[in-house]
């Protein structure tokens, strides 16, 4: 019997699914039409050439329709998520009702399907620009772009053909995606009250803008690829470089920004304690970035000297293939055990492989077919020429890339050859060992090649002009390594020297730019930014210091004590100041907002001589508690200074119980330690663990709520001042004599974990009995936290920003060259 489902809103899904199919078909049509528009224009036959215009018109219409379809898919999906239509798996899996609107945008691309859509959207956007600015390049360039568009659309189709499911649709219904007995009921929707919600780590404002930036970077890398293919296809071998150059710079700039945004997100929102972890997912995005950076340099070299044509073309082509390889790595589930960040497999393994192989095949095919005609110079480069060193620099970058690629691809290697190679025990050290020397070489080349001219430079002049900079760099480096505390490691000193040299050399170029050679400004600024980024990354990574060192662990045997690993977590009890490096740190309490619990951690730097507070700030690292699953998800908080950051996250906290109600049969007093009983008088003080209690006086006129006092009843309040940590709390426990029986009403002081009872009066001794209950120390609130000081990390972020400014300047310059050319 067919079940009648109640309350489902199926229209947006059906519409969305239609748009997906439509976008796939229109992309395919546009590819074919652009293909024929290109080939007919190349034809020798007059009438065929005339038909090119017709093909172009069809292609343009198909492209416009494709753009509309892509927008349609996005609108339908947004509508579903925004309106919490949990009958759709995507909305159920990635969002929830309590999610604020701006995070609904993040949940849009939390899943693979949404991020594929984002990629399609950007490709459509880039295509629109090509249509208006591409001129003679439109047909060939758009053929490649629309082929890629068709590939991505096919990933979203989610239709079964011959028992094979092609792609994964974001519009699949929950009852089709997940098996469950509740779907046997027509009214199952009433029982699904909320979605799974967005991964809390992604609930960060950087996650709203990082994915779109990154995907714009990935998507725009197809443009130089398409130009290079177009150049080979239409035999306009060197011509394509001029229009492709601003695009290449654009892709490099956006992808670089996207990567660093991700790095900043990791630093601000994740608790792995750093800004770069050499995680396979991070590596996958930086590999194509590095090859395209290399490509930019040889493209410029070729443009100015005619050398390195093959290298330039090859690097541009391989960069996009590596983008596809990166998406294969992160989306196919192959990284499995080596990365915690990768997507899980959606059954698209071979589909993704096909995507990579198809574009690799196209690249190789065109290179092979046109090999004999490629404008490869037979002439040897001059050693003292800029083009030679641009070429060498690009090669070094490529080699650095090969290393990252080889290490990241270990799981792929295992899958192909059936081996079981594990990643290196210390991943970060493994990568740094290789990448630091490469960075040194690259920084040096980026410095001195600025003083070389194209074609030929007089070696004498060259050495004179760099020698002063080299010498000045020695002194600055000496000062810098001393102040930044990295003089113990030779490699660090060399890298600092190379970077300082690069900054100075490029600064010199920049001053010339101000004198009128403005065209040089872009590269000088970008290189200064890059060198600053290197120093910042080096210093922050090499000298970051865990300040929450704790060596008070007890009683775990000699075996444990032998291992000299620093003990990086420290326990803080509420209101007990603890010394941590130069800080006096106090856990002040917590507050809960929505799903997050914020822990108030106060940091003070106190001058030891005069007790003056020199620094005072409070950090709010948070954790999402999930009492049901008995887990926490912690996010750090960071105090930013100009020259260092103090980074803190909780590593363990007491789990809040779901209900605070006392169970029957348990008296409240069980929560306290055995009480201490004192016989006191007015003016006496009684000590407790964190302070003292002062007996101020007696209130003979005490009143107790809901208990009317008879004539002979006596109620006395004991006025107490509880002094702790410089603060005074008032409390007044009450003693009651009613109808000849003794009662007392204790007062609880939660902030101090105290309960005070005025339990008896001894008129004969003239004493009053005070009972002090104190919560055991362990019951007090505590947090285990880890704190790290990152020195000079702003050089890293600042360098990035300067580098991006350099790219923007270069884009303007290269874009102008298209118009003048």
């Amino acid at each position: 019997m067919e079940i009648q489902y109640i309350g489902e809103n199926l229209l947006p899904g059906k519409l969305g699914q239609f748009f997906i199919i439509f976008s796939f078909c229109s992309a395919l049509l546009a590819t074919i039409a652009y293909y024929f528009a290109t080939t007919t224009a190349l034809s020798k036959d007059q009438s065929e050439r005339a038909s090119s215009g017709g093909w172009n018109r069809i292609a343009r219409i198909a492209f416009r329709l494709n753009t509309l379809a892509v927008i349609g898919i996005g609108s339908c999906l947004y509508y579903i998520i925004y309106n919490h239509l949990f009958e759709y798996h995507y909305a159920w899996a990635h969002s929830s009702k309590i999610l604020p609107v701006y995070y609904i945008i993040s949940s849009f691309w939390e899943g693979q399907e949404g991020s594929f859509w984002l990629w399609m959207f950007w490709q459509a956007f880039l295509g629109t620009i090509i249509l208006s600015k591409g001129k003679t390049w439109e047909n060939s360039v758009m053929t490649t772009i629309m082929l890629s568009q068709a590939f991505i659309a096919s990933m979203l189709v989610g239709v079964e053909i011959f028992g094979l499911r092609i792609g994964s649709s974001p519009f699949i219904l929950l009852r089709d995606a997940v098996p469950g007995p509740i779907f046997g009921r027509g009214d199952y929707l009433n029982m699904i009250t909320d979605g799974n919600g967005l991964n809390p780590l992604l609930q960060n404002y950087w996650m709203v803008i990082h994915p779109p930036t990154l995907f714009l970077g990935f998507a725009s890398m197809i443009v130089p690829f398409a130009y290079a293919i177009g150049g080979l296809w239409e035999k306009r071998y060197s011509e394509w470089i001029t229009p492709a150059l601003p695009w290449t710079l654009f892709a490099v700039m956006i992808l670089g920004t996207g990567i660093i945004m991700g790095s900043f997100w990791a630093y601000e929102a994740l608790n792995f304690g750093g800004f770069w972890a050499w995680d396979p997912v991070e590596n996958a995005s930086i590999i194509p970035w590095m090859t395209l950076i290399a490509a930019v340099h040889v493209l410029i070299a070729h443009k100015n000297s005619g050398h390195s044509y093959f290298t330039a073309t090859f690097l541009v082509l391989i960069s996009f293939v590596l983008v596809l390889y990166a998406s294969f790595l992160t989306r196919s589930g192959i990284l499995g055990e080596t990365s915690v960040h990768a997507f899980t497999d959606l059954g698209m393994f071979w589909h993704l492989v096909l995507y990579v192989v198809a574009f690799l095949f196209i690249a190789v095919l065109f290179l092979v077919i046109r090999w004999k005609e490629l404008p490869i110079t037979k002439k040897d480069e001059e050693t003292y020429s800029r083009e030679f060193w641009l070429f060498i620099g690009a090669l070094v970058l490529s080699i650095a890339c090969v290393q990252i690629l080889a290490s990241t691809s270990v799981p792929v290697f295992n899958a192909i050859f059936g081996t079981e190679i594990a990643p290196p025990p210390d991943v970060v050290a493994h990568y740094n060992k290789w990448q630091v020397p490469f960075a040194v070489v690259i920084a040096f080349i980026s410095a001195f090649s600025q003083f070389l001219k194209y074609k030929k430079t007089d070696p004498k002049k060259f050495f004179v002009s760099i020698s002063i900079t080299l010498l000045v760099s020695v002194f600055i480096t000496a000062g810098a390594v001393y102040f930044m505390n990295i003089y113990t490691n030779v490699m660090y000193i060399i890298l600092t020297y190379a970077s300082v040299f690069s900054i100075l050399a490029n600064a010199k170029i920049l001053t010339e730019a101000f004198k009128g050679k403005w065209r040089l400004a872009g590269s000088a600024v970008a290189h200064i930014g890059f060198a600053l980024l290197l120093v910042g990354a080096l210093v922050a990574a090499a000298t970051n210091k865990v300040i929450s060192i704790n060596n008070t662990g007890i009683g775990f045997g000699d075996e444990f004590a032998k291992s000299n690993n620093p003990r990086e977590n420290i326990i803080l009890y509420k209101d007990e100041p603890t010394r941590m490096d130069r800080y006096t740190v106090t856990y002040l309490g917590d507050s809960t907002q929505g799903v997050n619990t914020y822990y108030r951690i106060n940091y003070k730097v106190i001058d030891e001589n005069n007790g003056e507070v020199k620094e005072n700030f409070t950090l709010y690292p948070n954790a999402q508690q999930n009492a049901k699953m008995r887990q926490i998800i912690a996010s750090p908080d960071t105090r930013h200074y100009l020259f260092h950051d103090v980074y803190t996250h909780v590593s363990s906290v007491p789990l809040k119980e779901e209900d605070h109600e006392d169970h029957e049969g348990h008296s409240e007093d069980e929560k306290y330690e055995k009480p201490a009983t004192y016989e006191v008088n007015v003016g006496d003080t009684v000590r407790f663990r964190e302070g003292y209690i002062l007996v101020k006086g007696i209130n003979r006129d005490a009143k107790i709520q809901n208990i009317p006092l008879g004539e002979r009843d006596i109620a006395i309040g004991l006025k107490l001042d509880v002094v702790s940590d410089g603060k005074v709390f008032q409390s007044e426990p009450i003693y009651l004599l009613k109808d000849g029986s003794k009662f007392d009403f204790g007062k609880v002081l939660d902030e101090k974990g105290l309960k005070l009872r005025f339990s008896n009066v001894y008129p004969d001794k003239d004493k009053l009995e005070l009972m002090v209950y104190q919560k055991p120390k362990a019951e007090k609130d505590w947090v285990v936290l880890k704190a790290i000081e990152f020195p000079y990390i702003n050089l890293f972020w600042g360098g990035t920003i300067i580098m991006v400014i350099g790219f923007i300047l270069s884009i303007f310059r290269r874009n102008k060259e298209i118009k003048t050319a």
Partner: protein
Amino acid sequence: MKKSSIAGIIIIAFAIGIIISTYADSSTYGSFADAIESSSDLHVVGQLNKEKELFYKPHQDANYFAFYMKDNDGKECRVVFNGSKPQDFERSEQIVLTGKMVGNEFHASKILMKCPSKYTTDQVEVREVTAKSAKT
């Protein structure tokens, strides 16, 4: 021969060298039995023994976490980790440890776990709302 060609050849040779040494740098997967034999760090894959106690008492030492893990051969071993208990540890389905044997304990320098995360598995959490609304 052109200078750039020579440079290219050197670079390719260098690249091959790097790839080989990258694989030489890598570690191996093994069992606790392998770890007893070996003196260098290796990766051990296994499951947490959920019946035995997880030892993490931050009041005594915030950097000492011990538990029992069964490797894929079924051999059980006490594992000591110098740090705080990873979030979500109890629910892990699979653990990959990096470290070595010290005495008869395995000292892990890194723990990687696979969890049936709320955000990756498809388990419909159903709340009976109907019953509740009937009451009110």
